[in-house]
Symmetry: C2
Subunit: 570 residues, 2 copies
């Protein structure tokens, strides 16, 4: 059933918005189509993911990315070096899928953010769990380090080699194994692209329990290995709850089959949990069983402007109360984010277009001109904050009533000053693009310092304001956005180029600030290579010790994704 | 806001029920009040849990329960025996809370099902994590085995000693540490009784994400240690998703503080997951942080009769589609369950009272008499199956409309033949009692053979039918009920007394049948002492080996809850 316009809501909303002097525009959306961009997770949405995965020759070389071993103080561990005999052995295991061409390897050596770069000379592309098992058994015997790689869309350098690790790609492990129409249980290989899986289950009346900006490239195995959060976390919760089972190959090649499709199974320790979020350091995930919720019959998105962060928080409280069980996302972004997506990606703000405002010479206030029925009403030039609220429900009429009541309340109380609502699928996508593509816009703005923090919601934006003052003109932009409903702030700072001075101002300050709030220094991105040194800000020494013991138990030679997740040993 | 009658729904339902010849009764509910029963988890609801926990003298002795070491082929492992010096040391750690009185110890040595019995001579009742740490450090040094104990409401003998393990009770660790009104995050000590916590958060507008029949006695720490499922699992999911953090004391006394209150935290391995469902064998959980969902403003329960199991399944599909996001439970029970609760607990069937039906001498059909507006319509004498459907939503009117549409559809299609709906809090509780108290009714029927299985929903009831035929008159009752929405069958068989012949017919047959369906031999009860030998029916050898390695890593001396969860070593 196609989503349709929430007519009563729309009428009310238009009226209320006018009363309060807001402008409401429904127009063609510049942001509706994605701009393909080679080498980025978003680019792969427009290009076919299968092109990405079957031939790497479409990727440009990236000579300007500094080698990780040159930028960071990291020493190669005493692993073996790939020999001719190893190549011959791998050729027997995965015939025709042993890649040594440097041009092709380049794309797998560099992360999509173009901040880290390994120097692997070997990429293997198994199709089956058995092939992964044989590869790992060989690597274990030969003491060869391995870098498991999914869609290479990670944010913390976890998915590319640091030195010459063998890259083990899941790109060809892209088969759906089964889908159960009654329970919504999907079983698939680890290399399935999230967007392909979404399409597969949506055709059958379900949705994937997770959604990410990188869905066009990221692999479900990588999602699980990094415990990806994303845009549906608020509604469907963590992968620790929605992943029903998985199959992983341990460092020595042992296949651990915990690919249960049962919602409940209390027979012994829940071993699959060990691998969810361990970033490929404890085993290579080869298949996943995941519970898909029923596809909502109606989806609406409200994109609203708020006059301050306090209003963003109060709007959240209000919408939890009034939208209840249909609330499926509550995202926020600040005005600088909006500037970046409109400037770098040519997306149009649905709420206001600052260029359309002219100042009143007497009062200094700015007025909206043209197109809007409310054109003569005074409005603020641009909202300092925007929130994106998504509802997903089983009955459009009920959802619209709930949404209207909510909008009426936030407008009449002044928590929201402006906004628009969409139920049409393409318009919903266009509104989401404003939020989903912030990371892409940032990467076009310069060198990006990225922080992904969990903080108490009431203090969440203080850090952004604080850093803006501390950095002054040394930063191009200091922006805050993220999954407010989950207490998750994406704090990003851009500068023209990498600057040790900016970095020194940011770190360890950001981590100390977060630790003081008992927050997390990595909410959903993981630690990978770039954040492994800051684990101690969020975990006590006893936890760190147990992690190291688990690593030693499951991977005694340390061949799986070395230099990642765990801090370097002294 | 108090729940109120769904008036439009009620009118529709009454009318539709009449059309189809069903009877609808709203009357005083015999089952509304709980009958206190000492020594059972339900008894503690009526008696104060605090009485239960502060003095054991109210419990009768249970000499008739055979000692576990005499009934089962189990050998004591070479742990030390508690000495006078140990007692003195414990007295220094928990002064006045070192219990050696055999009368008091009896209640902690016997499980509530009265099927297993240990012979511990020592019960310790710490109040703080530090005390637990000191106790375990001492036990570790002295090689004393420890049996962590919460509310002692487990189904598989996991919560009582097998031999003379020191009983470490969490009963006095019953403090709420914090509750965050905006996020709904509760942090509390492990010994808090689930019902007390429910009350605490409900007063603040939230609900606990789990609910169990044993809520009046069970401890949250025990719930987490056994990964309890229960009645809200369908809506709020597994504890692996809702538990945000926990604090556990390891075997050597190390305090592992992972008591995060963050929804997202991807800093390293998610260590808390190790302890969820490990039944106290890897560490003693001392505090829990858990995410509570907002309290629904409207709750309705429909209790319906279905003419067959196929109709139970089709009703489930229909209600998933039409109730969508407000569906919060889908439970089923067979006619024998109804017989047991009406006979042993004097609860009244809300759907029909067979005594009120009189046979028509010409047709043999039975007719409902008196009270009902539909009295002259023919109905089946009793439904072969009953389902309990709960909806929880934020808007009573919307929920009622959805429920009415659902009822109209299942009645008109003949999937449901009879039923009643309640929105009043007390009537909702009374309907739930019919389902929640089945286990109690069974325990009054004789010796109970209990199985808790996850199976594909479409095959779920075949096993019950099959066993009824296999056992014939040797069984008093063979009943099936459970959380159909989660694919979880509680299969129970009663006989006058324990019978090796009945057991031999049941096992390993039930486990083999389950394994053939790739089900789980313990969906939510865990393995404890009684099921640890059947782990292999649901887990491959590689998983078993990894479990043993984890046990050896975390508890190298094996002092924590020995003889539980993991199969006995050859």
């Amino acid at each position: 059933m196609a989503p349709h316009l929430v007519q009563p809501g729309w009428r009310f909303w238009r009226q209320a918005a006018c009363t309060l002097g807001a402008s409401v525009q429904h127009r063609t959306w510049a942001g509706a189509s994605r701009i393909p961009r080679l080498g980025s997770p978003w680019g792969a949405t427009a290009t076919s993911p299968r092109v990405y995965r079957s031939g790497f020759s479409t990727f440009p070389r990236a000579p300007e990315v500094m080698l990780t071993r040159e930028r960071y103080p990291v020493r190669r561990l005493p692993f073996s070096v790939v020999s001719g005999e190893d190549l011959a052995a791998f050729e027997r295991i995965v015939p025709g899928r042993v890649i040594t061409d440097p041009e092709v390897l380049e794309a797998s050596n560099v992360d999509w953010l173009r901040t880290v770069r390994g120097s692997s000379v070997l990429l293997l592309r198994p199709r089956t769990t058995e092939e992964v098992s044989h590869i790992l058994r060989h690597c274990h015997e030969r003491n060869l380090a391995v870098n498991p790689q999914g869609g290479n869309t990670g944010m913390v350098g976890g998915s590319v080699p640091v030195f010459d690790e063998v890259i083990l790609s899941t790109a060809l492990m892209n088969q759906v194994i089964s889908f159960h129409d009654m329970s919504g249980t999907l079983v698939c290989q680890a290399g399935c692209v999230l967007e392909d899986l979404s399409r597969h289950v949506e055709e059958r009346g379900f949705v994937m329990p997770l959604d990410l900006g990188a869905k066009g490239s990221c692999h479900i195995g990588g999602n699980v290995a990094t415990n990806a959060g994303g845009l549906r976390f608020l509604r469907y919760g963590s992968l620790h709850g929605t992943v029903l089972g998985l199959e992983a190959v341990l460092a020595d090649g042992t296949v651990l089959n915990c690919l249960s499709t049962l919602r409940k199974d209390n027979t012994g320790y829940d071993l699959k949990q060990l691998f969810i979020g361990s970033e490929g350091t404890l085993g290579v995930i080869t298949a996943v069983s995941i519970l898909c919720p029923p596809k909502p019959r109606a989806v609406s998105v409200a994109f609203l402007g708020c006059p301050g962060f306090s209003e963003v928080l109060q709007t959240f409280s209000t919408c939890k109360g009034l939208l209840g069980e249909i609330l499926s996302a509550y995202e926020f972004m600040d005005a600088e984010c909006m500037w970046l997506v409109t400037r770098h990606l040519r997306l149009a703000s649905p709420v206001q277009d600052p260029s359309r405002f002219i100042p009143d010479q007497h009062t200094g206030r700015r007025y909206h001109v043209a197109e809007s029925v409310c054109a003569s009403e005074p409005v603020d030039p641009e909202s300092p904050f925007y929130v994106l609220i998504e509802t997903s429900g089983s009955r459009a009429g009920h959802d619209a009533e709930k949404l209207n009541d909510f909008l009426e309340q936030v407008l009449s109380s002044g928590l929201v000053t402006d906004g628009t609502v969409a139920t049409d699928h393409m318009k919903v996508k266009a509104l989401w693009a404003l939020r989903e593509r912030i990371s892409e816009a940032l990467s076009r703005d310069g060198y990006v310092y990225k922080y992904d923090l969990s903080l108490p919601t009431e203090r969440l934006y203080d850090l952004v304001t604080d850093l803006r003052a501390r950095l002054g003109p040394r930063a191009k932009h200091v922006v805050g956005y993220g999954h407010l409903g989950d207490g998750n702030l994406h704090l990003n700072v851009t500068s023209e180029a990498f600057s040790p001075s900016v970095l020194g101002t940011l770190e360890p300050y950001v981590y100390e600030w977060t630790a003081e709030q008992r927050g997390s220094v990595s909410a959903e991105h993981g630690l990978g290579f770039k954040k492994r040194g800051v684990l101690g800000y969020s975990k006590p020494p006893e936890a760190l010790r147990l992690m190291q013991q688990l690593k030693a138990l499951l991977d005694p030679k340390g061949i799986l994704n070395p230099y990642k997740t765990l801090p370097a040993q002294a």
